[in-house]
Amino acid sequence: MATDSLIITSATGVDVELAIAGPGSRSHAFIIDWHIRLLLAVTWFALAAYAQTGVFYLRGKSAGAVAALSLLPAFAIYFLYHPVVELAMRGRTPGKRMAGVRIVNRLGGTPSTLALLIRNGFRLIDSLPLFYGVGLCTTFFTPQRVRLGDLAAGTLLVHDGDQEVRALAQLGSLSLNSSLDAGTVALGNDLLLRWPDLEPARRHELARELLRRIAKAVGSDSATLNLDALKDRDLKQRLRTALAGHPP
């Protein structure tokens, strides 16, 4: 049965909990990476061919050197993209970063060079018969949703919360002078971060409700706030200042 998270006992005594990425996130990351490497390989091929022959393709009987300079690096980019980028970025690739996942070992640490090379070597099997058929099937049936390469290398893909780490950075600037309780500051911080993703009516409603609660907490009269007249940008600014400790 599939598990949703990996819980690791840390030396500090506080468990580390990592959310395991499923086939959907894996496919999402793979498709982005596939497009990146294809684009890079095709771009190299076209530019190298153009630099040598004046056209963006190889003519019928191009010289060996021309073909070598155009084709070989293009193939190298396409086939070595994953091992090279994963090693350089320590278990991440641009696609994985965009999909919000990263590779970890079974102890939650950054995987070793050997583990990354093993999981990439097994792509030969995982990609069989077409479009990662074997790999995709095993992610559905293994408990930690891993492909054969991960199984052999002792790695797995987990969700990477870069957005949440950024939220913490913003929280620092908000909470410095605030006299509000941590929960309210965190709630406001979350709303500010999600502001662009929420529908205007919804975010306005949430912001007004939160501002009224803050006003009540600091002893202001919420009736005098005139929140309904505020426009989108002003409402966001008012919320930010209120969270930072100024009266709403």
């Binding site: 950054t110 030969l124 052999a152 309780d181």
Partner: protein, 324 residues
Amino acid sequence: MTPTPKAPSWLAQRSTIWSRLGESLLTWRRGRLSRQDALQALEGYRGLARDVASARKSLPGSPITTALETLYASMHAIVNREPRHTRASLRHLYAVEIPATVRELRPYILGVWFLFALSTAAGWGLIHTWPTLVGLVASPEMVRHVEHGELWTDGILNVTPSSLLSIRIFTNNIAVTIFACVAGIFYGLGTFYVIANNGLMLGGVFAFTQIHGLDGDLLKFIFAHGTVELSMICLGGAAGVALGESLIRPKLASRRDSLQQCTAKIARLFAALIPLLIICGLIEGFVSPDPDIGWPVRLFVGLANLALMYAVLTGRFFRSAAAA
């Protein structure tokens, strides 16, 4: 009811530290940590553990707790990062670990060689008895060339330059060797198929060229690179059989653990296999197809290549280099 901590007393004090850690994290992820960075990371990790514990207790399920847990997990990955290979560990790999793995795989290597020899003999027997079946082991182009009294490799340098040919060959050989190994994950059956298939093809092609009086030419073509190349494929196959064995008869508590332990051990072999296959590819591109190079040079290159393989796989090459 658990009192919710007031922001100034806890959040305000700690949030600036979290922000700093979050910023440092991005730098630490990219490169090597200095001693100062490592100490700072450890200190931050410990402090964060306390914060996560507090947040889990006082703000369960809140965005702060989630964000802290995420930062804590990222710091955990940084703190538990394995060191990169240094020159000393690379020397240890070639001088000690690879020879030890080869010694351990010796029964499998012999078994795979036996399978390869058996399938080569079977391929030879099959095509020698029924030459019309050659289409099973050779492409129509190869068959056409041989029927016209020449090897398909004759004049190959007029079509493809040696450099390009070498790269194409060693890339293919590396892929075949890795495949022969990783196919062992199907309880060894995949490896058996790859090795038997290669043996059948080699034997069949030799039988077909013998019928047309070209077997001597084929041997001349193959000798300089083939001895080591086939040994490498068989070594990859032996690693694949070991992989299958680790699943059939696991030595650890679970098959997964046994597979991981075995893979980590045999993967080191590829640090020797890949450079040797690149050398074979260069020989096959520059020496083997050149009609001007005679038997003595081919013999010398082939034997020297074999000696190099022996020195690398037994660790003698690196032990003597280290001693020097």
